[in-house]
């Protein structure tokens, strides 16, 4: 029996525009992995958000297989992102539908599909060691080290 396109819509689960520039492979391969992935990137975390808090929240959409907290490459301290991996695709889709865009530690967090954790991806890629977004932002965010690095300089 047929299904309607209108009811097939599941836009929260669609892949975004982001592509990892360090991904080893071409765009097509990356997209293929993203569409099957059980791994999520989680952004806009506070530097003080703990692995335990991430576990608790993301367990609401299914059993969490692993969490890798993002670290400042220099200081090796939390720098506001992490990866959450589920055992099944279905559980990770629920996270995209129902955890993405809600609050953790009082901050609206963002989730996005990730092609799969590889050693090294837990480090920020900004020049100063944290995330790129913290290099250039102009606002004051006490939970993310205050001003962006560009202002601090």
């Amino acid at each position: 029996m047929s299904i309607l396109n209108a009811l097939r819509s599941d836009s929260y689960v669609d892949i975004s525009q982001y592509r990892d520039q360090h991904f080893k492979g071409n765009r097509y391969e990356q997209e293929k992995l993203l569409k099957l992935s059980c791994s999520l990137y989680v952004g806009n975390l506070s530097f003080y958000t703990t692995e335990e808090q991430v576990y608790e929240l993301f367990s609401k959409s299914g059993d969490v297989k692993r969490i890798v907290m993002g670290l400042d490459k220099v200081k090796k301290t939390a720098c506001g992102f992490c990866f959450v991996e589920y055992y099944t695709r279905a559980d990770s889709e629920h996270a995209m539908r129902f955890v993405n865009g809600t609050r953790l530690d009082d901050r609206i967090i963002r989730t996005d599909w990730d092609a799969g954790f590889k050693e090294g991806r837990q480090y920020g890629r900004g020049k100063s060691g944290g995330q790129v977004r913290d290099e250039y932002r102009q606002d004051y965010d006490p939970a993310r080290g205050g001003y962006g690095k560009i202002i601090k300089k």
Binding site: M1, L4, D14, Q17, Y18, I67, M69, R97, F98, V99
Partner: protein, 794 residues
């Protein structure tokens, strides 16, 4: 290509909404889009849109008839909240093209047969309702609809078949009457009267053993939790008394009456309900969830009464909207809030009631719990001036009635509430609940607040919880989740095994191997042994204590550290937990060390099961052991048990799937061999077959062993429940005290919860359960739970 995460810029989700400008190129896609979108917000009236669309479709019939038929049948099946919009459309088409109307009816009947055969009973229901509304649109002749209903009702006379089968056919008739009752009674009142009488006598004689298991509250006040068929029948009776007046349903066909009554009608072909088969899985019975009545909405439109047919229609439509749009929370919220006719009803109250009704539905909610949390947040965003107040009112009401709320529902309530609060800075008028402070901590209200605070702490941190509650709530604040190290310092130097802890921590720091660690552990004295002639082989609890306490202490910093520790020393742990006693003891040690941090206990046990350091039965035995009696009613314990059972179930399913896949592969290979006829190829594939057959045999064994483990797990759990409950009941009887203590209510409802949460798996083991455990000798209070469970599919 932008490197920035696109979702960083917008509000999270549904980014395509902005870019939905690309028109479907194919005419068929366009037809589907036109049909799906009719009835949505528009600058023109619904009537003129329907008129326009009917014209377009009529013109396309010569070339796209089948596609149009298929789309219309699909919307009838999948968009029940827009039933009358589409029935009107079909009416208009039938008026313009009689043959098309006939073909549509035929397609619908075919679809109905298919859905019934495929156990898609909800969809079949919508099809029946659609057909009945086609009577109102002059597409189907009333007498033939009545004849179909008569055939439905004749199912209750059948000798074989479960009650739930008859239930569905009765429900299908009753739930169509709000739409078509008036018309059918006007044309065929004698037959309809007979149908209603037959329904009434069926409802009087049918079993209702299942009802207590499905009720959210055990109390009748303020709102009785009615069985769904009883409630609907009462609503239909009331409607009949009102001479079938029904004022809520939007009926676009009324505006087209002059056109439609000129149309020729079709007769439904005689429809015999398909016979009962062993594969049939009928819907489970329900209890109607009610928490509001007209006294609760202070101003504005009045809420229709519990036995008004309007109430039924509103709730049905809201449920259908959620069913259609649950994946996209913004759309779902918007659709709920733009419900047609919303100005005549206190819509926010209906929405909140329907959402909680689903969240608390027993055995399981229709959708994952977290969806409801997020949907309510979206609704609050869209109606910030009114919905949060209704939600607060609902929360307050549910708090007031905790004493009689089913434990499973309390679980869901506290999960929802703590998660919801974490999105709103934990702002709540805790003072309003200070009445709970005067009660014993094991009573439902203080217990609820305590568990909410514990869950809230998991989403934040200890000091935050201390800060958000008034000072007098200190008894309910969760413990600071710190590690309790037995061998902390010199003050514990007198403890046996203390010296070895020093050696172990040094060994770990110096990256000793697993073998070296085991050697060091040989020095640990065994409190279970009188003399040391049997070295090392008998169970030594102190070894586990010394090693694990030290290891976990060193790894206490985070989950990742602890997981890493478990992985690194997996060999040591496996050897220490070789026996059942070992497995039990390791759980005790984990508990002792982390008793302030239930979340950590939970994740460690999860890891230990997955790495086979402990097995599921050990966890079950530990939970029911005297050691854990003091925490038996705490929420985290049941989280652990249910998670354990789920892991077991998923494990069995996984291996069964592997077996199925291997069998399919073999099938494919056999059929390929048949077709090929190439001798050389045949010889190779013979070898492959042999390997596959071996693999299948191994998998078969694996499945059997896993199923045996699963059955054993349930037996352990049920046996322990029976023992505990029987003991309690006997003690109370001989002591002459009331058995219905808070502990008892919790325990018996936890037993219920096992049945409800894992009902599909447990169905496989019914015979064993009935023969071994749930026999007639059992105390009737305990046996009742089992009988209620059986009644769910009878």
């Amino acid at each position: 290509m932008s490197r920035r995460r696109h979702s960083d810029e917008n509000d999270g989700g549904q980014p395509h909404k902005r870019r939905r400008t690309s028109e479907p190129i194919e005419i068929e896609d366009r037809l589907e889009s036109l049909i799906c979108r009719v009835g949505e917000k528009s600058t023109s009236s619904l009537e003129s849109n329907l008129e326009g669309l009917a014209g377009v479709l009529e013109a396309d019939l010569p070339n796209y008839k089948n596609k149009i038929l298929r789309i219309l049948c699909t919307v009838a099946r999948l968009l029940p909240e827009k039933l009358t919009v589409y029935s009107t459309l079909v009416g208009l088409l039938n008026a313009r093209n009689y043959n098309f109307g006939g073909e549509f009816v035929e397609s619908m009947i075919r679809q109905l047969k298919e859905t019934l055969k495929s156990n898609l009973y909800d969809e079949a229901l919508y099809l029946v309702r659609f057909l009945s509304d086609l009577v109102n649109c002059h597409v189907i002749a009333a007498p033939s609809m009545v004849a179909m209903f008569e055939n439905f009702i004749s199912v209750v006379q059948e000798q074989d078949g479960p009650q739930v089968r008859c239930d569905w056919y009765v429900y299908a008739v009753l739930s169509s009457l709000p739409w078509v009752g008036k018309e059918l009674y006007e044309k065929k009142d004698v037959e309809m009267e007979r149908i209603l009488n037959q329904i009434e006598s069926y409802l009087k004689r049918r079993q209702k053993i299942h009802v207590p298991m499905l009720q959210v509250w055990t109390a009748e006040k303020p709102h009785p939790q009615e069985e769904y068929l009883d409630c609907l029948f009462a609503q239909v009776q009331k409607m009949k008394k009102d001479r079938w007046q029904e004022r809520h349903i939007l009926r676009p066909y009324i505006a087209f009456d002059s056109v439609l009554c000129e149309a020729l009608q079709h007769n439904l072909p005689p429809f015999t309900p398909p016979p009962h088969s062993e594969d049939a899985v009928y819907p489970m019975p329900k209890v109607i969830f009610r928490m509001f009545d007209y006294t609760d909405a202070p101003e504005g439109p009045v809420m229709p009464g519990s036995h008004s047919v309007e109430r039924f229609v509103i709730e049905e439509n809201l449920h259908c909207i959620i069913k259609s749009h649950w994946r996209e929370r913004k759309t779902c919220a918007a659709q709920l809030l733009s419900y047609p006719g919303k100005n005549k009803i206190p819509l926010n109250y209906h929405i909140v009631e329907v959402i909680f009704g689903e969240l608390f539905q027993l055995p399981q909610p229709p959708h994952i719990d977290v969806m409801y949390t997020t949907l309510l947040i979206e609704l609050c965003k869209l109606q910030p001036g009114s919905l949060p107040q209704v939600l607060a009112q609902a929360t307050e009401m549910m708090y007031m009635r905790l004493d009689t709320m089913n434990t499973t529902c309390i679980d869901r309530f506290l999960n929802w509430f703590s998660h919801h609060l974490s999105n709103f800075q934990f702002r709540w008028s805790w003072d309003d609940w200070s009445d709970c402070l005067t009660q014993d901590l094991d009573k439902p209200k203080p217990k609820f607040v305590k568990e909410v605070l514990e869950k809230s702490m998991r989403l934040s941190y200890h000091q935050r919880i201390v800060d958000i509650v008034p000072a007098n709530f200190s008894a309910l604040i969760p413990a600071n989740p710190i590690f309790v190290y037995k061998y902390m310092d010199e003050s514990s130097s007198s403890l046996p095994g203390y010296p070895v802890t020093i050696a172990i921590s040094n060994a770990i720091i110096n990256r000793s191997s697993n073998d070296e660690i085991l050697t060091i552990l040989k020095d640990v004295p065994n409190p279970n042994q009188e003399d040391d002639d049997d070295e090392g082989d008998s169970f030594n609890p102190l070894k586990i204590d010394v090693f694990l306490q030290t290891l976990l202490h060193m790894a206490a910093k985070s989950f990742s550290h602890s997981f890493s520790a478990l992985a690194k020393f997996h060999e040591v742990l496996k050897s220490l937990t070789d026996s059942d006693e070992g497995k039990l003891h390791i759980l005790r040690v984990v508990y002792e060390a982390w008793r302030n941090h239930p979340q950590m206990i939970s994740v460690l046990i999860d890891k230990m099961i997955r790495t086979q350091i402990v097995d599921c039965a050990a966890v079950a035995n530990w939970i029911f052991s005297p050691d854990m009696a003091h925490d038996f009613t705490r929420f985290y314990v049941w989280e652990i048990l249910h998670s354990t059972v789920r892991k077991m179930n998923k494990h069995v399913q996984k291996i069964q799937k592997e077996l199925e896949t291997a069998k399919e592969k073999l099938e494919k290979q056999h059929s390929r061999k048949k077709d090929s006829g190439d001798e050389e190829e045949d010889k190779n594939s013979d070898e492959e077959d042999g390997l596959l057959e071996e693999q299948i045999e191994r998998l078969q064994e694996k499945v059997e062993s896993a199923q045996s483990e699963q059955k054993n797990l349930f037996l352990v759990i049920f046996q322990r429940f029976i023992m505990m409950l029987t003991e309690h009941l006997v003690r109370c009887e001989t002591g002459g005290v009331d058995f219905n203590t808070p502990w008892y209510k919790n325990c018996i409802e936890r037993l219920q919860q096992i049945f409800l949460m894992h009902h599909q798996t447990i169905q496989q083991y019914m015979v064993t359960l009935e023969n071994l455990l749930f026999t007639a000798e059992l105390d009737h209070h305990i046996l009742a739970v089992y009988q209620q469970f059986c009644a769910l599919q009878m």
